[in-house]
């Protein structure tokens, strides 16, 4: 499991594991499950922006579609939770293949605008489509069982599953980033014409990265739907797309642990400052501004630079 991790990464991973194991005894498991679902979502998003340099502004489409599919299959087909989460991932991947095929035709700012528009299209589709329950969403989704026999009604058991899904996704992304495939992705980020001239079909690589990212976003959405028993329009809305950008930016673009730290802070802010209403939006906007102007490496990126280690 530790293969491919550098020494600083290994230490950071140990810290992360300790936190995941210890925190449910101190904090609400419900809050922590939310953190982990969004952390996986942010890590998946970071795979695109941090390692291919593609800024997607419509990633909630994949998160939301995964959430709807997992919720629907749990509620009406009474599937195993693991299968439902997997189906959420498949839904994210399928949608990612379609939208990614369109979006990677352009790059930079236009890519961001296209993904935003496509995400909005998915939102309106979900608003009208019969299976999503429209404004109500899919409510009262049962948690069911995982692996056929472990009931998930207990929050701690559910937390265990969410933590397992998160870790599997996290390690998978780390594996992808440090594979030869990941090296090509970074080459595309740094200089796409050069990668092309070296003989790589860059659009294929970009599409595969897009599909991987949307599949993992779907997994995150599916896990969230089962843990909270609800899939709603919020999951596919542009607000959620913006939030995941904020999490990744705050934690550190292109760092392995950054999105996790960013997701923790953003979810904590939303949970504990909820009584301040729209001030949370103002604060989020201000964080964007400060991050872009003065803090472009993000929290983990800044720590990594201080320690001279890539985290």
């Amino acid at each position: 499991m530790m293969a491919g991790f550098s020494r600083p990464e290994r230490i950071a991973l140990m810290v992360l594991l300790t936190l995941i194991v210890a925190s449910p005894f101190v904090l609400y498991p419900i809050f922590l499950m939310r953190v982990l679902c969004f952390a996986l979502f942010a890590c998946a998003f970071n795979l695109l922006i941090g390692y291919v340099g593609l800024l997607s502004f419509g990633h909630a489409a994949f998160f939301g579609m995964g959430s709807y599919v997992a919720a629907w299959t749990m509620k009406f087909w009474h599937l195993d939770a693991a299968v439902a989460i997997l189906l959420g991932g498949v839904a994210g991947a399928a949608l990612g293949l379609c939208l990614g095929y369109l979006a990677i035709r352009r790059s930079g700012i236009t890519f961001a605008m296209i993904t935003l528009a496509l995400g909005q299209m998915v939102y309106f589709f979900c608003l009208e489509a019969p299976f999503t329950g429209g404004e109500d969403g899919i409510q009262l989704v049962p948690r069911g069982h995982v692996l056929g026999f472990i009931p998930l009604t207990n929050d701690m058991v559910m937390y265990g599953l969410v933590a397992g899904v998160f870790l599997a996704g996290f390690l998978f992304i780390h594996r992808v980033i440090h594979s030869p495939f990941g090296q090509v992705l970074k080459a595309i980020r740094e200089n796409e014409p050069r990668a092309t001239s070296l003989g790589y079909r860059t659009s294929d690589y970009k599409l595969i990265a897009f599909v991987l990212s949307s599949a993992l976003s779907g997994v995150a959405g599916g896990t969230k739907a089962i843990a909270f028993g609800i899939a709603t329009l919020t999951d596919v809305s542009s607000g959620t797309s913006g939030e995941v950008v904020l999490m990744t930016l705050l934690g550190g673009l292109g760092t392995v642990f950054g999105p996790v730290a960013g997701a923790t802070l953003v979810v904590a802010m939303e949970t504990y400052l909820a009584q301040f209403g729209a001030w949370v939006t103002v604060a989020q906007g201000a964080i964007f501004v400060v991050c872009v102007l003065a803090f472009r490496r993000g929290i983990i990126g800044e720590i990594g630079t201080r320690l001279r280690a890539a985290l």
Binding site: L55, L102, I109, A112, F124, A286
Partner: protein, 298 residues
């Protein structure tokens, strides 16, 4: 009983009514995407705060009326000036720090600014929205023979068209526009000729923002003045910009009006798809002509 004329099996008044609604939405798409195109041409950033500044235009008009008793027509000049000045301050203090960095930084910064502006207005005015009366002279409707045209809506379409064409003329036909286009093409060379390019950039941003605020004032009597009114437009406007081609002035005007009409017609023939039709058009354009209808090859 009077016989109602039908066109393609649709009652004519319904068809013309939706066509008019489409034209009005199209007028706003055109004005907003025009501002985005001007700003993009000069600053190379996509102004994600455009929707928030559009909303601010409507709010400033509402404030001028409620707090100072200043009516619609003075607001049509004052609100864009005030919001444009605000844009100039934003550009001078924040956005101008990012020109040497990746273009995505400008996008993220303006997105953050949009959240701040929207959040502040939501804090003080809630999300429900305030009514803004149609000015007296423009109340009522005119019988065109085949339909009743509410005067204010006709006014909006006419004024929007006029402003769009005037902007196009300024950029394409005047010496100022020539300098602007030259500075877009090669800022270094134009600066060497003694033109203050940074000031030109600031004024361009202010101008684009003022255009958004102007659209906001026009929109105030039609839609209720509320902090989220920009959101409904701006997502479609981004699709319009992609369809028209980034940075094309004439392209954004034509595509804006055109897609408004397409949306209006979809509402008649297939209402469920009316919210997505613009995005579907974008998909088709991306497949057939990725650079957009009026876009130049990069």
């Amino acid at each position: 009983m009077e016989r109602v004329t039908t066109i393609f099996g649709v009652p004519a008044p319904l068809l013309f009514g939706q066509l008019l609604l489409g034209l009005i939405n199209g007028a706003f798409y055109a004005m907003l995407s025009l501002g985005l195109a001007i700003i993009f041409g000069m600053l190379n950033i996509i102004n994600f705060a455009h929707g928030a500044l559009f909303m601010m235009g409507a709010f400033v008009a509402w404030m001028l009326l409620s707090y100072a008793g200043i009516g619609y027509f003075p607001s049509l000049i004052l609100a864009p000036l005030i919001v444009g000045l605000f844009g100039v301050i934003l550009e001078k203090t924040l956005i101008s720090r990012l020109y040497k960095l990746d273009h995505l930084c400008g996008l993220l910064l303006t997105f953050g600014l949009a959240l701040v502006i929207q959040g502040l207005f939501r804090n003080y005015y809630g999300s429900s929205g305030m009514p803004y009366p149609i000015p007296g002279v423009l109340q009522g409707a005119t019988n065109l023979g085949f339909m009743f045209l509410p005067n204010y809506r006709g006014w909006v379409v006419a004024v929007a068209l006029l402003v769009c064409l005037a902007t196009w003329a300024i950029i394409e036909k005047t010496p100022l526009g020539a300098t602007l286009r030259a500075a877009t093409e090669n800022p270094g060379l134009v600066q060497a000729f003694g033109v203050n390019v940074p000031r030109l950039i600031t004024l361009t941003y202010g101008g684009g923002v003022a255009l958004a605020a102007f659209a906001g004032v026009l929109a105030a009597p039609i839609y209720s003045v509320n902090p989220n009114m920009g959101d409904n437009f701006i997502n479609v406007v981004f699709a319009v910009v992609v369809i028209g081609g980034m940075g094309s002035i004439l392209g954004s005007i034509v595509t804006g009006f055109g897609l408004g009409v397409v949306e209006g017609l979809t509402k008649v023939f297939w209402p469920q798809a009316s919210a997505t039709v613009v995005f579907l058009v974008m998909v088709i354009v991306l497949l057939a002509r990725p650079r957009g209808l009026f876009g130049k090859l990069a």
